[in-house]
Symmetry: C2
Subunit: 425 residues, 2 copies
């Protein structure tokens, strides 16, 4: 089955917003063996939207569109699609009532233009959107090239992703003619670049039966293996491929499946009944925020201190003036004192700390921007390391938080946390 | 002049690589008043590449393509374009010699397939690529829709950007018939939904001279106005449109231009020489992390406490056991005590606090998931409010952080922080 993707919105054709939806959809379609023949983006003009649908129907059996389902005047997708396939727009009562209820539940009256989101082309199948007001829909139409199928989803990424997984991928699976199935497994890695990862795993698997896909959305660098074949052989095929990959990746792999570092840290801490206290300078609260993104994290996150000012490092974390003066705020000595301080303050099993220069200013010859010290403290021992990271402020914060989280994960697993990463010089 | 953009490469249609080139080019074209009517992506197949060029020529006067100029077998752009416009490929001696020199300069012998990069369609104008081996080129061709122009650039972003700025944009400027220019201005809003915003500003500006674009990437909801016309009239036109929009938006607008809430909070605090201390329970460090995303924030962010466990609320922030017991951790009383506590601890001008139930668990009938209390403390006064927010854990954290930041901004401006938002019931 050949698929095409259409993104609509002036914000995309004017370069204001980077389209990440098409990339995500293409990746998901690959996972079920669907080939993407074309991706297209047009602005909010009915003639361009209609021309794009028609053009893509000549390249693919099914076209997946996103965007233009909002309540405002520049949201034109539904109306344009209805005209293109020559069907009237009908209001769906259940959807209208649901939208009204959503507004009522937050004590607001619904602006009348939101009712536009309850209109669908006659004959369309409505696709639920539990995360927003605009449902999606799918339709069939006769084109000069034959019967074609279209799917319309919201442009908001989290709404689109949910709808894609919930309503679209299962339906696409059911449409395929071959009884061959596809199954994937993903490995999350840290401490290795995408190109080094590519080289490292190049010869692990037979390319005739297993497809590799790399994905770098830092701090997530993952490799996905996809096997295909008759359903009864699939489980064994995937298992053997995964075992080979697992062995090759070794400790570069920190988790498998749809997970991330903060989730894995949480699993390890929870399994051991351990708790964590966080002392952050250069990461500014990001380590704590990521830890607490995980549902149920209150079971192991006791709390933390964002010690941006040196006075706070002293008064709250008990870092001594002497240590600060003789080594500077960005030093392994201060990092260790911060980790010890926050462990004492919160009574946690582990104290983790970060201190560094996120930039763009504040660097010196001796400690340039990107200098970051990390320390972890437990009853057993204190460990620390000085890294030279790179990139802009956002990147340094992100990388620092990823390393700190990996330290906690390794420490809780009983490993040496300073083995965390080849990112170190 | 209408333009279209074509990106080629299997890595794009399989979701492996996110295409950032098209977005960058679209943004640059807008700056010279070039309208992008379509963006397309296809994989490395000659028929798909040729079909995409033909389709885009029907949408635009000039098509800018990237990718497929490398030395390997799957780099098919030059050969495909030559065939499409029916011109032979000719080797350019100067380019061939340059590529050979490039390899020699790093002490390597040139693989013969690199000579492919010295081939161009007859009549094409070669575009220098000082940053890589593959030059680009531009060509003219007669299509059913008339004379069309094509530009081919490398897919490597830094090479493409250099070529675009150096060779392509100046040439496009020289081609334009109209001397009209485009200029935009953006307003950032909070406390109003996208649809309500749309209704609110619908009649402010003349749609014939000003285009409105809304964008909701929560917590950013913005409206951008774009005017066009002769350069000498543009500044006045934009100014008058912006003034009308500014008046209508009133206090829903918290900033103008390419900014966000944390940046605006920083500006207001820095301008007043004020400082901030943050006490977070349900937002888990996100308020601190967002504040410290801003370069230079160490001038006004003293620090913060993530008080997830009640014991930390007591021992670090000095919330009394009685207050915790009689009102519960999620209460305006505890929020106020946290704000007071962190102000005292850090010595900041303002103490801001959050405590709530982010979910998915932990809700009760009296305090369901999404119950969030926010407080701010200064020498002058303490203010607090209980909100009923909605959405999943991530959303509650994000919304909580946005409200808390807006409270700080309003307080520092001397406004009543509790006016922050119509999101409150």
């Amino acid at each position: 089955m050949r698929a095409a993707i259409l993104s609509t919105g002036d914000e995309l054709t004017t370069g204001r917003t980077l389209d990440t939806n098409a990339n995500y959809i293409a990746d998901q379609l690959l996972g079920i063996g669907c080939e993407v023949t074309a991706i297209m983006t047009v602005g909010d003009y009915p003639d361009r939207i209609a021309a794009a649908w028609r053009n893509l129907f000549s390249h693919a059996d099914v076209v997946l569109g996103t965007g233009g389902l909002g309540p405002t005047a520049d949201d034109l997708t539904t109306e344009t699609v209805a005209k293109m396939i020559d069907r009237p727009l009908l209001s769906d009562n259940a959807t209208a009532a649901r939208i009204r209820r959503l507004f009522e539940s937050v004590g607001r009256s619904m602006p009348e233009n939101n009712l536009k989101q309850a209109l669908f082309p006659e004959g369309a199948t409505i696709l639920d959107n539990p995360l927003g007001t605009a449902p999606g829909f799918r339709f069939e139409t006769e084109t000069p090239q034959g019967i074609r199928r279209g799917v319309v989803m919201p442009g908001v990424p989290r709404e689109m992703k949910h709808m894609l997984a919930d309503s679209v991928i299962p339906w696409l699976r059911s449409l395929r003619e071959s009884t061959d199935e596809y199954r994937s497994h993903t490995f999350q890695t840290f401490g290795i670049s995408e190109s080094a990862l590519d080289e490292m795993v190049a010869d692990v698997l037979d390319p005739n039966t297993t497809r590799l896909a790399f994905r770098a959305a830092f701090p997530q660098i993952s490799v996905r293996i996809t096997v295909h074949g008759p359903p009864e052989k699939l489980a064994a095929r995937l298992e053997s491929a995964a075992a080979a990959m697992r062995e090759r990746l070794g400790e570069y792999c920190y988790g498998e499946g749809d997970t991330n570092m903060e989730t894995e840290v949480g699993k390890v801490l929870a399994a051991r009944g351990a708790t964590i206290g966080v002392a952050e300078s250069c990461s500014g609260g990001l380590v704590s925020s990521r830890l607490t993104d995980v549902a149920g994290s209150s079971a192991y996150v006791l709390g933390g201190v964002v010690a941006y000012a040196n006075a706070v490092k002293q008064s709250v974390l008990g870092v001594s003036a002497t240590t600060l003066e003789s080594h500077g705020a960005v030093s392994v000595e201060v990092a260790e004192a911060m980790a010890r301080g926050v462990r004492k303050l919160t009574g946690a099993t582990y104290g983790i700390s970060t201190t560094g220069i996120a930039g763009p200013d504040g660097g010196t010859q001796e400690k340039p921007v990107g200098t970051v010290c990390i320390a972890i403290d437990s009853e057993a021992c204190t460990a620390s390391h000085r890294y030279q990271l790179w990139g802009n402020r956002e990147w340094v914060k992100l990388l620092t938080s990823q390393i700190a989280l990996d330290w906690v994960r390794r420490a809780a697993l009983g490993e040496d946390p300073t083995r965390s990463t080849v990112l170190r010089k």
